[in-house]
Chain length 315, copies 2
Amino acid sequence: MDSLVERFRSGDRRALARLITRAENRSPGFAETLDAIYGSTGRGFRIGVTGPPGAGKSTIVDGLAAAFRAAGDSVAVLAIDPTSPFTGGALLGDRIRMRCTEDDSNIFVRSMATRGSLGGLARATVDAADLLDAFGYKQIMIETVGVGQAEHDVMTASDVVLVILYPGGGDSVQAMKAGLMEIADIFVVNKSDHPAADRLVDDIEQMLELRARRDAWRPPVVQCVATERRGIAELVLRIENYKSAREAAGDLAARRRERREAQVRRAIEEELALLLFEKSGFQDYITRELDRRRPPYAIAAEVVNLIKNSLKHAI
Amino acid sequence: MDSLVERFRSGDRRALARLITRAENRSPGFAETLDAIYGSTGRGFRIGVTGPPGAGKSTIVDGLAAAFRAAGDSVAVLAIDPTSPFTGGALLGDRIRMRCTEDDSNIFVRSMATRGSLGGLARATVDAADLLDAFGYKQIMIETVGVGQAEHDVMTASDVVLVILYPGGGDSVQAMKAGLMEIADIFVVNKSDHPAADRLVDDIEQMLELRARRDAWRPPVVQCVATERRGIAELVLRIENYKSAREAAGDLAARRRERREAQVRRAIEEELALLLFEKSGFQDYITRELDRRRPPYAIAAEVVNLIKNSLKHAI
């Protein structure tokens, strides 16, 4: 493991890929590795990209990647693929493989899928983004297909979130309102040469009028035709604006601190579940009490009380 | 709350609906209510129904509901709707409302959505099914849209799982293989009057040959044209076969015990997260250590160790 970290530090992309796999699988030693590279994180900027299927997320990501490379920045793309038993996780995979054929060592593309819990996906995404960041990638894009709740967890792993919408997609803003204002820092109306594009922009603007955010940021609406790379330059500008405005307000640092706190909490919960249900006697106790037809929440309350009392001296 | 439980016990459907809402919202006292009705659970049979969008899940559920009612059984339907910010949770809602207009007090239909975590949805589903079971519904169907990972959690809440597939849907069995064998107890090929139906049946049978299950059960493949109610009678028979075969083998009881154990574990995890991160000093400690740039997994390990040591006398 140590030699892998050394190779990672010397810029070996295969070592990077293997460390991401280990974080994904929670292989033994992954936590120590992430702690070892933690000091080198914090220089990359993490851009979350989400939206409904068909909105053109991949094309936007491709356009942004080209623009960042033209400006001299290295680029990493994490494509997060919430696995469904009905898709086999292939929603994004193929397109990703196609993009990988580009022979530019300053672009790194990686698809991540999981069959486990979504919580597991969120954890692995933060870890993979940390590895990319520590490796030296300046622009780290995290792309997710907007079909489940994965995007919410995954998006909290980003410094800025782009929500990609498109006109005529059958989804009106009214139908999409749930949660969008909470996650979108920048709205992108793709396929803006479509006759219904102005209407969609108006709808979003109206929604922005009606709903206040917790912070002072007002998400801009950027129009794009990503297939022709139209609007990408403005989008890059908006991302930079966002970054400097939020850095100045101290919001970016706050967001990153929240992300770290959530990461620590999840790591504690993960370890604690192992400790309580696999390594301690609680599992046997639960089984025994259930066999006696004792109701579930009463059993849970007793176990929690036991832990609480024994923690009294600890805290 | 107590009077609500009394009304529930006297057969008041509005009291049932309100108790489900309370379980969904984790309102104060919900755990005590669920424990109070726990002794009356275990008589209803829980049928999970899942499959890709467009497979005809709702039509199958409608057909089964009619067949169960004709046989004299009361029926409850829980439609689980994994909320996406891009759909606003309306994937199933509308069809459900339509079905609700049927004026049969022995059919109860309820749509459940959540904007929180999928774990929360799994918890609320088990609780809602318990309430329906204790209320006296004999056949409890849990329908979920197969677009995310929600179905996996939700399906573990069922006694039997029907996976609905359809020919010509663009999804070959090869593409769908991930996880299907683990969750399907009965395969349903809907729209079996389609020319490609035989091919799909063959594909499923072949997959069944290749993959062994942990248990001895071999999932049957039932062909249906649900819009014409063809195949529904056979499906009912297959469900009954499954139930008696698994009851005889002791597998059904084992599955239900596993479900209870998972429920208790989730309740403990939920309470423990509150205790550790909201009511104790650990959150402040985490923040402080992060401010010192101490790496996240080292902080987590220390907190877990502290808990572990203080638990030594408890276990």
